[in-house]
């Protein structure tokens, strides 16, 4: 697509024509390989094949299953909280357990489910296959990354069994309360949480370096950066963000651990805790918030960018149409990624930081809306004049567009500093971030699983079950979070264990709470259907043909399906085009795989990519 690329390609073919003195230029020419073929580790035993696997595909599946397992716990915790909120008369939970569940739910969903699933799961599965590599650059380190993640999860879950239970500090873990006596788990649970996060960051760094280096170094011949599928662009950019953002979380966690265990005062000013004067003095609680959100805001995009990339590919394949405005899409991903490091304090408008920062951060935050809006336009313009197949991945992608649009627009409320004042710390915020970084990415995850399932198992998932799952999940979660915004307008504050005697809250608001809880229970239960489909289809599903969706990207072009160890048989693929040549005029089929040489499709009016 890029002009520079066109120029290079033309120059190359001219050169070839001159050198070989053949009258027609070699239209199938691709650049020479710059690195020798990768030498792979071959497993010898059951343990090294299935447990301590060094094959990125297996590691991806391991990551995904561990993340989904942990996510199920997060789901159950959300049920428990919602039952308490809707039916306080039952005396279902103590306030302290309510806050512990809120905290664990939030942290599990954001870090241990979404981040691990998108980057660890889809990253490992798709990067080598879509780039045309045999494996990740460092398979051994990749294995360590997964096992560090497992240990992090175990430490996190262990906090349920220590005296005082898990931390109840809220997922933001704001000091001083996170490590002082008024908060549940302030001396045991919080330490395990911090250690678990530190382990997660360490493990993630090992994986992340792999993703970045593999994308930069191990792409197949002809796979220029501007021919990469947007999925890879999304995962790649998100990983780069993570490499810059996670260190902030890491030092924040280390400093808080020191404050708690060694009595340092990084975040702890002189204070009185429940009538007792503490020995800390001079620390700044706001410093932690800056560190946390310098990680926390890019984290939103660490989850969102892979979802953006994946949904672009799903929309393109299933509407049989080129993605609209590929170059803009790439620059939007990169631009959003870069801007995401300059907006963090919009989480802190009313935190007590210097209020004059508000002007700067409101401006940067609203600027980031522009590339984000471009992405939405390009998705819907991809549908325009397409040939839309309402397959399961397409349904989930459409669901994503609606929920992401809704959640993105409410972001314009909260990002605009003045509007944020009455709405911050209310249910409007809860509704906004669940819609935009909970439901929207999860719908993409479901779409992606239905889409790539045949690549993993060689079988299709059940369509009917999938449709039931889609309708309940999509309509149900919209019914949960759309009305919740209006609770925020009323002024219902978040993180309230109960609020039933407040004079300004109408009884109808409480009725709404019951409605939301019932929807939560139904949507949660529908996920069991998905799990059944996920596991049962591996044995019972219809056998998939090769390239069942007629997609162009390389992962569907392996000699065997599902791909074997090393992915590509004897010879690595050569790439002649971008992955979006759908419905090209003059071509026989409505798709042209990336590795199909131009000489085989003479007559197709392909634009140079």
């Amino acid at each position: 697509m890029s002009d520079e690329q066109d120029h290079k390609l033309e120059a190359k073919s001219d050169y070839v024509a001159d050198a070989s003195s053949v009258s027609t230029p070699d239209i199938d020419a691709v650049p020479e390989a710059e690195l020798p073929d990768q030498e792979l580790y071959h497993s010898h035993s059951w343990w090294t094949t299935y447990v301590f696997s060094q094959d990125a595909k297996y590691i991806g599946i391991q990551y995904a299953l561990t993340a989904i397992g942990t996510g199920l716990l997060g789901l159950v915790l959300s049920w428990l909280m919602r039952i308490q909120l809707a039916f306080p008369g039952l005396g279902w939970l103590e306030p302290s357990s309510y806050y512990q569940f809120v905290t664990m739910h939030g942290m599990i969903m954001v870090v241990y489910l979404l981040t691990a699933l998108f980057l660890g799961g889809f990253g490992n599965l798709l990067i080598p296959l879509m780039c045309g590599a045999r494996d990740m650059a460092f398979p051994y380190v990749n294995m360590l990354s997964y096992w560090a993640f497992v240990v992090a999860v175990i430490v996190l879950l262990a906090s349920f069994f220590v005296p005082g239970g898990p931390t109840g500090a809220g997922w933001t873990l704001y000091p001083p309360q996170a490590i002082t006596a008024g908060t549940p788990g302030y001396n045991g649970g919080i330490i395990l949480m911090l250690i678990s996060l530190i382990l997660f960051v360490a493990g993630f760094t090992m994986g992340g370096l792999n993703y970045i280096i593999t994308v930069l170094q191990l792409r197949a011949r002809g796979m220029t950066l501007m021919r990469m599928p947007l999925t890879i662009w999304g995962i790649f950019t998100a990983t780069v963000l993570a490499m810059f953002a996670f260190p902030a979380l890491l030092v924040g966690c280390l400093m808080m651990t020191l404050d708690s265990l060694l009595g340092t005062s990084f975040f702890m000013p002189a204070m009185v805790s429940l009538g007792e004067k503490l020995t800390h003095e001079g620390g700044s609680p706001i410093l932690f918030q800056h560190l946390f959100w310098f990680f926390g805001h890019p984290e939103v995009y660490i989850v969102a960018l892979p979802a953006f990339g994946i949904v672009s590919d799903l929309l393109s394949v299933h509407s049989r149409k080129t993605i609209f405005g590929y170059r803009m899409m790439v620059w939007a991903i990169v631009g959003i990624g870069a801007l995401s490091f300059f907006v963090w304090a919009h989480h802190m408008y009313v935190s007590g930081m210097n209020p004059w920062f508000g002007f700067f951060f409101a401006t940067t935050t609203l600027i980031i809306a522009v590339p984000t809006a471009i992405k939405v336009y390009n998705w819907i313009l991809t549908l325009w004049r397409g040939n839309i197949q309402l397959s399961l991945p397409m349904l989930f992608s459409l669901g994503f567009i609606v929920t992401f649009l809704n959640g993105g627009l409410t972001g314009l409320f909260l990002g605009n500093v003045t509007v944020d004042v009455p709405l911050s710390d209310t249910y409007f915020v809860v509704a906004h971030f669940h819609m935009v970084m909970g439901i929207a990415p999860i719908l993409v995850i479901f779409g992606a699983i239905y889409h790539w399932y045949p690549l993993i198992t060689g079988r299709m998932m059940n369509e009917t079950l999938g449709k039931i799952h889609f309708w309940i999940t999509f309509l149900g979660s919209y019914a949960i979070y759309f009305p919740m915004h209006y609770q925020g307008f009323v002024g219902v504050p978040r993180r309230y264990f109960e609020i039933y005697d407040s004079p300004y809250i109408d009884t109808s608001t409480l009725l709404l709470n019951k409605f939301i809880t019932i929807a939560v229970l139904i949507v949660g239960a529908a996920q069991l259907l998905f799990l059944y489909n996920l596991f049962a289809s591996a044995r019972l599903g219809k056998k998939s043909e090769k390239n069942p969706w007629k997609a162009n990207s390389l992962e569907w072009q392996t000699p065997q399906m599902p791909p074997e160890h090393g992915n590509w048989g004897k010879e690595l693929p050569k790439v002649y085009r971008w992955p979006y040549d759908f419905s090209v005029p003059g071509a026989k089929e409505d798709y042209i795989p990336q590795n199909q040489p131009p000489s085989e499709i003479i007559g197709a009016k392909v634009e140079k990519t």
Partner: protein, 278 residues
């Protein structure tokens, strides 16, 4: 067809919910009605975008659903369209941002004549301190906090002597007088939030934060803590009562100064000493 129809109905349903559901903000009781106006403006702009895009998606799904014999259009880019959409978005975003920044400027610029009140938060309750006749709040330090000196006032500071100490979880404020809340906490983060006032600011141990407002409506309002502060967070509520001048003066007269309070506790000590002697 069903998919297009449901996206269409979701959009219509969302609009209907917005206009006809009973859940909306409380009647404003401060000068920050312009925050409500910026919210309404945001609603109109973003609402229009939401409806337009959802309808477009529904239309595409209905119009271009899969037919075997049909081919999709092959059009990788349209630079003109893309740049038009980018500019339109940029203008829309600027239209949202500009009024927001104007109101924020008012929010962070406290009028000079504002009456200062200290809001004092702790796990889990509220106290208040009024500046007294000199209209200056005395200096404080957390290390002086004790049973006799619950606010930690510095005894050497003469400005603190006439400060009125309100220790009853209930604050009265005068209607139509600008008021600057100086927000102070002795333990963890809190946030002084009255839904009808719209304003909000975290209270951070070690520093004094602030915001200001002018109460515009007589009434009895609930104070909530809006920053998570531990197990008792949900129960950390109080009351603010906006009074006309007469009622306010009556309430103010009942409050005691720091000086009197110190004297009283010394008297108590003396009494106890006397009792012990007996």
């Amino acid at each position: 067809m069903i998919v297009a129809l449901s996206i269409f109905l979701i959009t219509i349903g969302s609009i209907a919910f917005h206009f006809w559901s009973p859940w909306w903000w409380t009647e404003v009781a401060s000068n920050w009605g312009n925050m409500d106006d910026t919210i309404l403006l945001t609603f109109w702009i973003t609402g229009a975008v939401f409806v337009a895009i959802c309808f477009f998606v529904a239309y595409c799904v209905w119009k271009y659903s899969y037919k075997k014999e049909r081919r999709a259009e092959y059009k990788p880019e349209d630079k003109k369209l893309e740049s038009r959409l980018t500019w339109a978005t940029a203008i829309g975003v600027a239209a949202l941002l500009a009024p927001g920044l104007v109101v924020w400027n008012q929010y962070v610029t406290v009028p000079e004549n504002a009456y200062k009140v200290e809001v004092f938060a702790y796990q889990w309750g509220w106290k208040y301190r009024l500046p007294g006749e000199d209209n200056i709040l005395g200096k404080t330090d957390i290390k002086y906090i004790s049973d006799e000196n619950p606010f930690g006032l510095i005894l050497e500071d003469p400005n603190g002597k006439d400060d009125l100490l309100v220790d009853e979880q209930e604050l009265h404020v005068l209607k139509d007088r600008p008021i600057k809340f100086e927000l102070r906490t002795i333990d963890v983060l809190h946030n002084f939030y009255v839904p009808q006032f719209r304003g909000k600011m975290d209270m951070v141990p070690g520093i004094v934060t602030y915001y200001w407002l002018t109460p515009t409506r007589v009434g009895d309002f609930e104070v909530l803590c809006a920053e998570y502060c531990g197990t008792g967070h949900y129960a950390m509520r109080g009351r603010v009562i906006v009074d006309e001048e007469k009622d306010y003066k009556k309430w103010e007269a009942k409050q005691i100064t720091f000086e009197k309070m110190l004297a009283k506790s010394q008297n108590n000590d003396n009494l106890q000493l006397v009792k012990k002697d007996k």
